[in-house]
């Protein structure tokens, strides 16, 4: 596999943009691995992927324009598409995550309320039983001497 033979300025631009884009993508993915919550993770992912795409596609445009000695801009298709779709995907995912977190919190709250209500009912029942027992024992000695 032989790399194409470009003039020096084009070589520097292509290699530099490719390395820059790959490094940005790697940074976004490191953010995906290192951060704590989902909302934190979605943020570097969207930024890193978008900018990495733009840089690598600029490298590709420069490379093929110099190789074919005319402007080759069909990479702009991928560029526009990815720039439009990455934020849309992240927004859809974040909304889904928000919905799931809210429904999970709601389920937890319902479960806690049911638990508390059951505890309260049990305490009331126990109090009533104790009161009944107290009434019985206080009734018994009074009736005894008569």
């Amino acid at each position: 596999m032989e790399a194409p033979d470009l003039p020096l300025w084009a070589t520097v631009i292509v290699a530099g943009f490719a390395l820059y884009g790959a490094a940005l993508t790697l940074l976004g993915t490191i953010g995906l691995v290192r951060l704590k919550t989902f909302y934190d993770r979605a943020h570097p992912l969207g930024l890193g992927l978008t900018m990495g795409n733009v840089s690598i596609l600029i490298a590709s445009i420069v490379c093929f324009s110099v190789l074919q000695t005319r402007p080759v801009v069909h990479e702009v298709l991928i560029l526009i598409f990815v720039t439009l779709t990455t934020p849309v995907t992240m927004m859809l995912l974040a909304r889904a995550a928000l919905f799931r977190d809210r429904s999970k919190a709601y389920d937890q709250r319902v479960a806690t309320e049911a638990h508390l209500a059951a505890q309260k009912q049990a305490a009331e029942l126990e109090a009533a039983q104790r009161e009944a027992a107290l009434v019985q024992t206080s009734d018994a000695p009074e009736q005894g001497p008569e």
Partner: protein, 93 residues
């Protein structure tokens, strides 16, 4: 000389993109909840698409461009379908 610089630079870019794919695979397996897995799948296909573009630059053929375009299209469709599934519980209502 120029060929060597370009080959090394593109090889470095490929290594970095491969590392990014490995990291997103780690998050894909570890992810505590489903949305983390979907986000890392999104990052995985985007990195694969970029790797394809870099491979195309390295070989000097425009053949890989179409493949990268199709990967981007299908990846977006799959990610948005998975997000819809997480939101609604079904994809086509």
């Amino acid at each position: 000389m120029n060929v060597t610089i370009l080959a090394w630079g593109l090889a470095g870019a490929q290594v970095l993109l491969g590392l990014a794919m490995l990291l997103s695979t780690y998050r894909l397996m570890r992810g505590p909840r489903a949305q983390d897995r979907v986000a890392s799948l999104d990052s995985l296909y985007a990195n694969a698409m970029l790797l394809m573009v870099v491979f195309g630059i390295r070989t000097g053929t425009t053949l890989y461009f179409e493949a990268a375009l199709i990967v981007a299209l299908v990846g977006f469709a799959s990610s948005s379908a998975l997000a819809k599934f997480l939101m609604r519980g079904e994809v086509i209502e």
